[in-house]
Symmetry: C2
């Protein structure tokens, strides 16, 4: 039994267009409708045949859906939901793919009183944006975290979970507040730090921008990938998950000061111990299939 | 005309064994001798036929070389050079692959009075270590920075440069002090930050290690790759290039505080502006062939 028959995707960027493609591939009998506030994106989605229909308004898009998934920046969730609130079928389930769950749950419940809202977050993506960047296999072997509100209907939670499993994801359930703290460290803090160091390197006077780019293979280029992620999406993430991000950032800064002191005082053992410990973390990530085993991310060397 | 006829490589880890393999492939008539202080590494190098000969001592390895390349951690350069100083032919050129140039140049000149020392740094590597991790194409399309001492013999500099070009690298010449500042930002600071954040994430109490690993695809896993690099090599880099690293770290910390303040005060425009600027840096790196164009580093999604 398919968990849903008529799925509407609101927001057709990297994630939304990947969800659409994945549904078309994994559940070909499901009717997929898409909508995006940007007319150019709607045209592209139509041309690429990412879904069966591209609607001209959010209301028209949801009118006969049994699942609506919001794939817009987390700061826009409430406003977009309000746009289609009047047209939402009473038995439809509303979900989303946002990177912060507590605040999004609040925004969606406020905009859609009485609706069944089951937020979720597929932990997957690339540094690209837009409908052309999406692909059907993006969620394969990645985790999708479902964060049902307290007292949520168990059958609705199961249908959303099954939906993600059909797209190839593994599903975990979590309280929204815990999700926000976990992702603050595994996703938000890394992005913040990558954005910062790329900015720092661009602002130097004596080392030129061109030198930074030429010699980036020494490690810097690894950071530029995630620092090329969508600016609007990430601005919203930091503003929305502020408390958890600030706390993780505080811990990171303390640890960095500790290392700075070890370098200043020539404490080689402290450095060596940490560098040995971090190596083991990488090993676990590869062993658990959360990254490729190939050295250098499998980059080509020809 | 080949720049050298008999090349000796001292230190047969990732880089040394890659140099050996690359020479065997690119200049098959050149005699390649290897040496490593670790008997197990010597055995592996012998078994894998990474070079023509594996010598039993540093002195025996260099005795008829016209180029000796030191591929050991930067903190070990002086001691290793002292080991073979008495056996070094008068007309041999000594070079190295170390990540810090000013301090290594001083150590090599002190250990080898009167020798022709032309330090160099191929900006290439992976997170793997040891003789089995090396491969012949590691230096293709990467930069090699040659840092001749003041008054160095131009012909010797050209021979070392030509050697690296034959291995597929592009060569740039630079003063050692400038090299150390450039690499502090493009390589040393990124490694330091990656090591720190992986350490921070491992030390959390409420977010478990297993959660950090499971949800690492949100960005964290990108950092774990370079935080899996060789601990001895990197301890030495930070202790050796201390002043430049501490200065770049200071700038980074200031920029991070600035961003922290923007998050605390909800200054979305400051975040958005930086995130847009950093995207352009990535674009330049890809355009200049210093990283693959494929999204997500070309990781597989199947």
């Amino acid at each position: 039994m398919l968990p849903f028959a008529r799925v509407t995707i609101v927001g057709l960027g990297l994630i939304g267009s990947s969800v659409a493609r994945a549904v078309m591939q994994a559940m070909p009998t499901v009717r997929v409708t898409g909508y995006d506030a940007d007319a150019g994106v709607r045209e592209t989605a139509d041309r690429l045949q990412i879904c069966h229909d591209v609607a001209d308004s959010a209301g028209a898009a949801v009118i006969d859906a049994d699942l609506v998934i919001l794939c817009v920046p987390v700061g826009a969730m409430g406003a977009v939901a309000a746009e289609f609130a009047a047209d939402l079928p009473a038995d439809a389930i509303v979900s989303d793919v946002g990177s912060c769950k507590a605040e999004v749950a609040r925004a969606l419940s406020a905009a859609l009183p009485g609706a069944t809202v089951i937020p979720a977050h597929p932990v997957a993506g690339t540094e690209r944006s837009g409908p052309e960047a999406g692909f059907a296999t993006l969620f394969k072997h990645r985790w999708c975290i479902v964060t049902p509100p307290e007292g949520a209907d168990a059958a609705a939670v199961e249908r959303v979970s099954e939906f993600w499993r059909r797209l190839g994801a593994e599903v975990e359930t979590m309280a929204p507040e815990h999700h926000d703290r976990v992702l603050a460290v595994t996703s938000h803090l890394p992005h913040l730090i990558a954005y910062t160091i790329v900015g720092t390197a661009s602002d130097l006077e004596e080392v030129t921008q061109s030198e930074v780019i030429k010699y980036s293979a020494g490690g810097f280029r690894d950071f530029t990938r995630i620092a090329a992620s969508d600016p609007t999406m990430w601005r919203d993430v930091f503003l929305t998950n502020r408390e958890a991000v600030l706390e993780m950032l505080q811990r990171f800064s303390e640890d960095l000061s500790h290392l700075q002191r070890a370098i200043r005082w020539g404490d080689g053992d402290a450095l060596f111990d940490l560098f040995t410990r971090t190596r083991a973390v990488r090993r676990s990530i590869v062993e658990q299939g959360q990254d490729d085993d190939a050295p250098d991310f499998g980059r080509t060397h020809e």
